[in-house]
Assembly symmetry: C2
Homo-oligomer: 545 residues x 2
C-alpha cells in the first residue's frame, strides 16, 4: 500500500490520478478524531433518519477526518481480474492566512486509533492539507489581497526560510559579479528545494522576497523553480504592471494548500462509483471537510451527496440483502468489515463460485500491512467484499447459480444498481436510508410502554439493565412512572412481552395497544401534558436568562 | 531531565515526591493543545482583567494541558548552591467508566509543538492519566456501583487481558494439582506485570475474574500482586461479606487513574512557592484540569488559586520590576523566557554579581535537551531566572550592591515577597493582576477616538494597518464612522496624536477630550443608542427563533 504524506503528495499525485481514471470503481474508508461530541448526541433506537442526521451533524461538526483510504479497482476483462491499487492519505489542517482550524479529539477515538497502531506524528508533522469550497474562496481572496503572502511567510519552517535566504544570497553574489562563469549572463536559474509539499510556498515567498530586495531584477516561474533576469527600470516597471505571472504563482500556492481536496475533486469530477462499508459518517465528514459545511436540512444533505457521487454502494447494506438470499448456515457470524472480509476471503458459501473474478493486490503482501482500521486496508476490504457480493447478485439476477458466467465490471455495477445509494443505519428506527429517493418506511419493531404495577416510580438505568437480557434496548422516560422502550428486533419484543406477561412488578404493553388501555392512556396523556408544561417553563427560563 | 510517561510514572513517583518535599520552591511550565478556541476570543488592549479572564476561560474550556514541566530547586546553604531536578510529564485523558474526555486542538498550537519537536505518539500512547475533583468523585461513585470494573475490563489492552488469562490458567493448574512442588500448598502467589501504569487495573480485574471463576479460592492483595488461598465454602462466604480488601483494591485503581493529579495534590498540600513565566493561562488550565471547572467569577478564580498556591512568582512580571531598577543599556532585548534566560545565563548586568548562588542541574548536559517550549527545560529556565532576580532584589532591599552577602532560600523568598502573586497580563488594559488582593488601576495609555474629517465611513482593517506603524494597536468600531483605538504605550499615543494632528482625512482625539468635543460626543451617543437598539432587535430575533 502506498502511504501518502505531505512530502510525498506531489510525487504520488499523477499515479493516483491515473489509477482513479482507469478504475471501474473506487473503494474508500476514513478514520476520525472524534465520534460523539457530547454524550447527549448518542444514537438511539428511537432516532428517525432526520433526527439521526442532525445528531451526527452535531457530533462531527468539530471532528477531523485524519486518515483517508482509497483503493482503485481496475478491471481486466480478458483475464476476468480486478487489479487493485491502495493508498492511505494522512490529513492535517495546516494553517495559512486566516485559516487556523480547530478540531475535537475524543479520548476513546484516539485510543481506538492507538489500538490499531496509528502514527500520530505522521498525522501532525506530515499530514496533507485540505480545503473545502468555503475555505478555498477565502484563501483565494486572501491571496488577492496579499494577506496570504504574509501568512505563508510566517508559516515557513526554519529550513524553508534558510532556503529563501540562500537564494537571495546567490542573487546578490551574481549581481556583484561574484559567480565566475555566470557574471556576464543576463539571467540565472534558482532551484527550489523539492523536499516538502511547501515547495510551492517557498517559491512564492522567494519570488516576492527577491523582487523586493533587488530593484534591477525580475523573476519568472520556470517549472516550479525560479529564473532571475537582469532588467532595466523601464522593463521592471512593465513587468510589475503585467500580473500574469503573479496568477501563475498564486495558483501554484493554492494547489499546494488544496492538497488532498484535489483527490476529492477528481472523484467528484469523474463520478466513479464509490464503495464503502457502513458509510453515513464517512459521507458526512467528507461533505464537511472537502465540500462545504453540512446543511441543516437532511434532504439537502442527501441531494448534495447524490450530486457529488451519483453511485454509492454500502457493503454493510448490501450484506444484509445478500444474507436474505443465502442459507442462514452459510452466512457470516457478523457483518462488520473484518467479519465479511474473512467470510469472502475464505471463499465460504457461494462467495467465489461461478466465475467470480480474481482480485489482485500488490499492496498487502506483508501480513503486517493487513491491519483493520487502517483506512487503506479497510478500503481494499470494502472493495473486495463488493466484488464478491456484486458477482453473486449478478448471477442471481441472471437466473441463478446454473446460469453463471463471467461479467464485465460494467455488468457488475448494472446488475447491482438496485442496491446503489442505500446506506446502512445502525441502531435507528429504520435500517437504511436512500440517497436518491424516499427513505423506506420503518420496519423496526413496535415500541413497548412500561410502568410498574404498583404505580411507583421507575428507575431508567435499572429498567435498561433488566430488559437488556434479550438484546440491546433504548429507554426513554416519558415521566418518572412511564417509559418507552425500543428494542432492536421483533423477536426481542415478543420475548420481552412473553417474559413480562405475568411479572409481579413491571407491566409491558406494545405501543399500539395504548389506545385500548384507559389507565395507560390517561397517565401517558397526563405525563405528556406535565412534560410539555415543564418544558415550557424551562424554555421560558432559558430565554429569560 | 527525567521524562515521565504512563509506564514509568509509578517508578518515578517516589523520587518526584522526595524532590518536591526537599525543594525550596518549584518551577513549572505547561504546553497546550489549543490557545484560542474561537477567533472572537482573541485578547485585546481594551480587555479589563475580568473580561480577559472570561475570554481565556472560554478559550481553554476545551483545551488540554498535554505536557507539564516541573523543576524542584533544592537549596544547599553551606555551598550557596541551588541544585535542580527537572521532570517532564506527558498527559493524556485515558478513558475509564463514563469518563471519555473530548478536547480541542488548534492547528497552529500543534504546529507550534511540531516546531519544538513534540512527540505526539508519546502523548497519546503513553501520556499519564489525570482527574480533577469532579471527575474523581464520579470515578469513586462508579467504582462503588461496580460500573468501573466493567469499563476497566474493557479498557485493558490485549496484552493486559492475556496477563489476566495467564493468571487464571495458573490457578486452574494449581487447583488441579498440576504444579508439582506447590500442589499441597494452601496458597500460591501471582505476580502482576509491572510494565505499565495499568498494573493496578490488571490486578483489580484479575482479583474479580479469579474469584468469579473459582468458587473454592479467595484472593488477597499483596504488595500490588495477588495471593490466592484455597478456602472452604464457609470461609469464602465470610470473605465475601468482609469488604475491607475490596476497598484496598479500589483505592489502588483510583490511584492509577488519578495519575498526574497526585503530583498536583502534592504541590497543593506542601504549599511550596510556585515559579512560572507569564503564567495566567498555566494557572487557569491547571485549575480546570486538576482541581475543578473554572468558576464564572473572576474573583472566585483568584481566591481558588490563592488557596491552592499561596505563593506564586511570575518571572515575566518580576522582570518588568527588575528592569526599572537597572540601566536601560544593561537590560535584555526582550523579556520572553528565552530572552531572559540568555541574559542571566551570560551573566549580563548585575545578574550574577554579589554572592548570587550557583545553580546546578544534572539534567541538561546535552545541548539537544535544552529545547525552549519543552515544558521541562522551560520550567528550569523560569526557576533559574527567578533565583537570579530574587538575589538581585534581595541585595537591593538590603541596601544595594555594596551590602551584598549570601542569602538563604528563605531570605530569597522573603525579600521578594512583595513581588509574589502578581501575574503578568499581555495586551490588556492593565499590566498585571494580583492574586491575593485588588488588581492595580489601569496604567495603560488613554484610548484614542478616531473619525474621518469628511464624516464618511471608516474601514477598520485599513485603520488598524495605518495606525500600527508606531506599534501594535487594537481598534473597536463604535459605529461605522467612529472608532476607539487602544495603543500599547503612552509614547505611541503621543506619536499618533502628533502625526495625525493635521492629517487631511483622519481626526484623532484622546478619549478624555470627548466631553469637550460636542460633535464627537453627540455622534458617539447616537451611535451607542443605535447600537443598543440594533442589539435589542438582534437579541429579540435570536430569542424568537
Amino acid at each position: 500500500m502506498t502511504e501518502v504524506l505531505r512530502d510525498t503528495f506531489e510525487k504520488n499525485f499523477p499515479r493516483v490520478e491515473k489509477d482513479i481514471k482507469n478504475a471501474a470503481f473506487i473503494a474508500i474508508d476514513t478514520e476520525f478524531s472524534c465520534l460523539v461530541s457530547h454524550t447527549e448526541s448518542k444514537s438511539s433506537l428511537f432516532d428517525t433518519a432526520e433526527q439521526r442526521y442532525l445528531k451526527q451533524r452535531d457530533n462531527i461538526s468539530d471532528a477531523l477526518l485524519l486518515q483517508f483510504g482509497l483503493t482503485a479497482f481496475i478491471f481486466d476483462r480478458e483475464k476476468n481480474v480486478y487489479e487493485s491499487h491502495s493508498y492511505c492519505f494522512y490529513l492535517f489542517p495546516h494553517t495559512f492566512g486566516s485559516n487556523d482550524q480547530r478540531f475535537k479529539c475524543q479520548a476513546s477515538s484516539l485510543e481506538f486509533l492507538c489500538h490499531h497502531k496509528f502514527d500520530f506524528n505522521k498525522f501532525v508533522y506530515n499530514g496533507i492539507s485540505f480545503l473545502n469550497d468555503e475555505q478555498d474562496i477565502r484563501a483565494q481572496q486572501e491571496l488577492k489581497d496579499g494577506d496570504l503572502l504574509r501568512s505563508v511567510e510566517r508559516a515557513l519552517s526554519h529550513e524553508d526560510e534558510e532556503s529563501v535566504q540562500a537564494m537571495c544570497s546567490q542573487v546578490a553574489l551574481w549581481l556583484a559579479g561574484g559567480l565566475p562563469e555566470a557574471a556576464t549572463e543576463k539571467s540565472i536559474f534558482l532551484e527550489v528545494p523539492r523536499s516538502s509539499q511547501s515547495s510551492q510556498c517557498i517559491a512564492y515567498v522567494a519570488h516576492h522576497e527577491l523582487r523586493k530586495r533587488f530593484i534591477c531584477i525580475w523573476t519568472l516561474p520556470e517549472d516550479g523553480n525560479i529564473r532571475v533576469l537582469k532588467v532595466s527600470p523601464t522593463e521592471r516597471a512593465m513587468m510589475e504592471k503585467n500580473h500574469s505571472h503573479e496568477d501563475e504563482l498564486q495558483n501554484a500556492v493554492l494547489l499546494s494548500i488544496r492538497g488532498f481536496t484535489r483527490i476529492f475533486k477528481l472523484l467528484v469530477q469523474l463520478k466513479k462509483p464509490i464503495i464503502a462499508h457502513n458509510c453515513v459518517l464517512d459521507l458526512m465528514i467528507m461533505h464537511k471537510q472537502f465540500y462545504c459545511s453540512l446543511p441543516k436540512s437532511y434532504q439537502a444533505f442527501k441531494n448534495n451527496i447524490h450530486s457529488l457521487f451519483p453511485n454509492v454502494y454500502d457493503t454493510k447494506y448490501m450484506s444484509s440483502e445478500y444474507r436474505k438470499k443465502i442459507d442462514r448456515s452459510d452466512s457470516w457470524s457478523n457483518n462488520t468489515l473484518p467479519g465479511l472480509y474473512r467470510y469472502f476471503d475464505l471463499g465460504r458459501g457461494h462467495s467465489i463460485a461461478s466465475y467470480s473474478p480474481k482480485i489482485i493486490s500488490q499492496d498487502f503482501g506483508d501480513e503486517g500491512e493487513r491491519k483493520f482500521h487502517d483506512a487503506g486496508w479497510d478500503s481494499y476490504c470494502a472493495g473486495f467484499c463488493f466484488i464478491r457480493m456484486a458477482h453473486f447478485f449478478g448471477v442471481m439476477e441472471m437466473g441463478g447459480l446454473s446460469a453463471a458466467r463471467p461479467f464485465t465490471s460494467t455488468e457488475h455495477l448494472a446488475l447491482t444498481s438496485h442496491l446503489a445509494n442505500r446506506i446502512n443505519i445502525i441502531r435507528g428506527n429504520l435500517t437504511h436510508i436512500v440517497l436518491d429517493g424516499l427513505d423506506p418506511p420503518s420496519h423496526r419493531p413496535e415500541i413497548i410502554v412500561v410502568k410498574r404495577r404498583d404505580g411507583k416510580a421507575l428507575d431508567a438505568l435499572e429498567l435498561t439493565e433488566s430488559l437488556s437480557k434479550h438484546g440491546s434496548v433504548d429507554v426513554k422516560m416519558v415521566s418518572n412512572k412511564l417509559a418507552l422502550v425500543a428494542a432492536s428486533t421483533k423477536g426481542q419484543v415478543m420475548d420481552l412481552c412473553r417474559e413480562y406477561y405475568k411479572h409481579p412488578e413491571l407491566a409491558l404493553v406494545k405501543y399500539n395497544k395504548i389506545q385500548h388501555d384507559p389507565f395507560i392512556w390517561t397517565s401517558t396523556l397526563c405525563s405528556l401534558v406535565m412534560c410539555a408544561a415543564l418544558s415550557g417553563i424551562f424554555i421560558y427560563r432559558v430565554l429569560k436568562n
